[in-house]
Symmetry: C2
Subunit: 150 residues, 2 copies
């Protein structure tokens, strides 16, 4: 195992959670990704969270590059929040949470589909394309051939 | 898009985040999954979080079934926390966050490998095994052939 050979905070998952790990963040992104929401009032109606929290999350997303803000085409006082490629790239995280919830908490109301309508799922695969089981996947220090402390 | 045709809280990702969405939860699980940590003191040393928070997270994990608690083999006063299959099943979520962090925030210190040492990654695939792009994947109501409101 890796133990304390690297500091926890430099781990990419920890850094990612530093950006999207606050309460509501992933649900706001889900609404943008999969429900097509773009406006403050839409997010608020969907999630029912406090205005100041939503405002702070959206501002942080724009700041860090997960979203970009545009003027509403027909009402310049309103803003439109759109996911950037960086934000869209969190789709697998939302899909993995959904798949886990479906399996362990009971099927939810949605499935993910590709353009051709076929159902989409996340697979853990090796570089050669082989399916990898959850049990066998482990973390190694980048660049290490074998984990010496395991 | 799905809009408000289903209530946000019944969504599986939202329910999953209800269980693992609190601050520290996913990092505690990461330490259990990929660093082999099992004891209170180990998690605390790794993450540097307050005892009462760690204690509350571990108790909740046991309560909901993500971890089971055992006596330490050589010291019955100490407890050992082990991930259940339910807990282990969150590996793809941690891997997805790591992959995202690696891509957008710079490579972190670890890679994920299979038993044969080859690098592991998450792929979005259709039922037929085709790779699906992030752009094309969308959410449909379960059981719906086509999303009528899209």
């Amino acid at each position: 195992m890796l133990g304390r050979e690297y500091p926890g905070d430099s781990c990419s998952a920890a850094r990612a959670l530093g950006i999207v790990g606050e309460r509501w963040s992933l649900l706001i992104l889900r609404d943008a990704m999969f429900r097509g929401l773009t406006q403050f009032a839409e997010f608020q109606q969907s999630l029912g969270l406090a205005s100041n929290v939503l405002s702070s999350r959206l501002a942080a997303f724009v700041d860090v590059g997960l979203m970009r803000v545009e003027e509403h085409p027909s009402d310049t006082r309103r803003r439109v929040y759109r996911l950037t490629e960086m934000g869209m790239s969190l789709k697998p995280t939302l899909i993995s949470l959904t798949e886990w919830g479906d399996r362990w908490l009971g099927n939810g109301p949605v499935v993910f589909v590709a353009e051709d309508g076929s159902e989409v799922s996340l697979r853990l695969t090796s570089a050669g394309g082989r399916d990898v089981s959850l049990a066998e996947v482990r973390a190694l220090r980048r660049g290490a051939k074998e984990d010496s402390s395991d």
